[in-house]
Symmetry: C2
DNA sequence: GCACTTTGGCAACAGCGTTGCGAAAGTGGA
DNA sequence: TCCACTTTCGCAACGCTGTTGCCAAAGTGC
């Protein structure tokens, strides 16, 4: 259990090839890979599972699944039969008849799988346990000093994770590896890292973490799969899973200014997880120096305005940078988050919105209005998004 | 002939579903679709065909294809047998033996398919005929006045296309529709449009084209599939097909300033083909007014510097905007093109490069150097890229 | 000349979604 | 109350996919 895509053949097939995913683990290293029957099976199963999740407590009927996937009803019946057998789906009542046999409604069984999300911030640790639906079923918080050294930090993290999972799901002799429904642990933290290898790079102020193979070290210690990503990416992923569709940018204004980009439902990280460096976008040529060494960066301008007690000006500056991004990527929504935003949400939403509206008016009919909202989820958003790093692959949106 | 993915079943299957493509034509409208065996077949066939193309004249052996795709050698044998039967692939000699039977080398048969690329510029028309390899086998040019009305412009385009195809491949009684190996016509033109529907929007200076359904009208007139895209996107697509891998930005500096973005080998257009609006990125808060109505846009600053006879300053300004883009998207290369660039290529390559290098130095080890080059292809690049709009789907990179 | 290695095709196979058909479970009119 | 009709959905047979087992072909090297 615990693996939706488990093949029963046992021989050869089911090599877990991504279909057109591009960045999946490829035999030849790099390029897109071939599709075999095992891949078809898991692709379709994941698709159905994703639709079941999106349907939520209301559930969805087999025929609706067939319409949405383009598969025949019979294929959906087979797939859902397997999912029910494996415990991931269950019947949930009947629809009203429309003149014939009423449709049976299927729903996801959230307890069939769990994931842990870890938000590793500079001074705080937050760990959540979520079910397949993404609902938080347990949480732990602890103070943390990222500068206290790897052993100390990893100990705190491992302790919190094991404690949380033990309370929520129960630990057997094998530790976390023995918890059947636990898919793994997602870790989100600030600053430069490589999400494909899970290796950290020189975090500002914490040089001792440079080159630390967080994914592998923590994975070995816990005995379950570990995935690592930037905090802004995790937040964006959480928003995406939380119903925010299409393409959007999550702008985080706290002690710094960063962005998480979701393009076509997938988090865009770039080949080196470097994408989303929004804060050091230059919007004032030869402007005031920024601590990064450049001049006229949004982050410097924006935070300076905040420091001067001029949030409206900060919002305007942020809006200009957001408008640049909207034009460059043609995204649908801008979501704002972070402590500075939550301090005065209305000022920032209005200020950024005004700049974007002015841009849309200049564009005319084509330039659709790009709404600005405060990101949902609050303080727990990053940890929940980190858990989605494990859940997402189950639901058909492989690498995002 | 002419359709690699033709199914022989004739019933039901082969609905042309994309696998995980996300933006493919979906039954339920929108979401990703289910995969059936026909989809597997065309996916793998396209993959193999793409590798054959990439191998060029050197060719590639079955076992190498198997390694690169992750498929078994036997599957590759079956697939290549079909491709050979259909005329898309052929044997091309033997490798040196490594102690056993020497590998037989396969190569693409470029003449098995052709596509037309049309570059519709404000004052000029350029039409190219290319083979499966992307090699230009015919070209026509003509003066053009976009303001002369749809009938006149379409007549000129249709005439040039039919003449070119007639010369190159021969026309029978059915016109273009009867030319077996012709896949279709790709049209690239400046300014706002919707590439999914092929409808134009208010082009600056040519209001009469607003809302014109270019794809459908020209498609009906020519009797072959027509695809429409922005000129910068086509140029980027051409560069991508021309060997430029990974993620890059093509910056075009001519009468205006625009960009084509390739992310992970796919052209990023955004949901409304609005992505790549690079020129009206604001890099000087409250700077000099731009004709778009905003202030401090790169385009205005850059072109003003060019007008003042200060190309180095123009290059620096362009570099700052390029650095913003590099940081936001974490791309690998910046390619420059357009008449203003080709006038003084060295100045711009150096000027932009200096800004990007300075950025990389600030980033430290992680911030990989982002090289700057003049885009290959020259004046014909956009037309060739337009033809790739038809060729690309054959080779496994579906919607890009 | 013979043993060995490597390539790649033929045939049998397992597993995928699809099709044909029928049972189950409702509605609604006679 | 009965019966015709509609709609859902599972069973069985089917066609197609890539996979596996096996063997002929075509080289190398002792």
């Amino acid at each position: 259990m615990g693996d939706v895509n488990s093949t029963r053949t046992g021989t050869g097939t089911g090599t877990g090839m991504g279909m057109g995913s591009g960045a999946a683990s490829a035999p030849g290293g790099g390029g897109p890979t071939g599709a075999n029957l095992g891949a078809v099976r898991s692709h379709n199963a994941a698709l159905v599972l994703g639709l079941l999740r999106d349907a939520g407590a209301d559930g969805i009927s087999r025929l609706e699944l067939a319409e949405r996937t383009g598969l025949t009803p019979q294929a959906v019946s087979k797939i859902t039969a397997r999912l029910r057998e494996e415990g991931f789906a269950a019947q949930a009542g009947l629809r009203a008849s429309t003149g014939g046999k009423p449709r049976t409604v299927l729903r996801l069984v959230p307890e069939a799988g769990h994931a842990v999300g870890v938000h590793l911030d500079r001074d705080e640790l937050r760990v959540v346990l979520v079910d397949l639906d993404g609902a938080v079923v347990g949480e732990r918080r602890a103070g943390l000093d990222l500068g206290a050294g790897a052993e100390s930090v990893l100990g705190t993290v491992a302790g919190a994770v094991e404690g949380l999972v033990g309370d929520g799901l129960g630990l057997d002799d094998d530790g976390l590896a023995g918890v059947g429904t636990l898919l793994g642990v997602g870790v989100a933290l600030p600053g430069p890292l490589d999400h494909t290898s899970g290796v950290l790079h020189r975090m500002t102020g914490f040089p001792e973490w440079d080159g630390f193979a967080l994914r592998d070290v923590l994975g070995a210690r816990l005995g379950v799969p570990v995935v690592v990503d930037k905090d802004t990416n995790a937040a964006a992923l959480g928003l995406s899973a939380g119903g925010e569709g299409g393409s959007f940018a999550y702008l985080h204004l706290g002690t710094g200014l960063g962005a998480g980009l979701v393009i076509g439902g997938r988090v865009h990280r770039g080949p080196r997880t470097g994408a989303g460096e929004f804060g050091h976008q230059v919007i004032q040529l030869d402007g005031p120096p920024c601590e990064c060494g450049d001049r006229g960066c949004v982050e410097a301008l924006c935070l300076a305005a905040v420091g001067r007690g001029e949030p409206a000006e900060a919002a305007r500056v942020l809006g200009v940078a957001a408008a640049n991004l909207v034009g460059l990527l043609d995204i649908d929504v801008v979501l704002l988050g972070g402590r500075t935003i939550t301090g005065e949400p209305d000022v920032f939403v209005r200020g950024v919105g005004e700049v974007l509206d002015a841009r849309a008016r200049r564009e005319g009919a084509l330039g659709a209005e790009v709404p600005v909202r405060v990101a949902a989820g609050g303080e727990r958003a990053v940890a929940e998004g980190a858990a989605q790093l494990l859940l997402r692959p189950l639901f058909g949106r492989g690498d995002a």
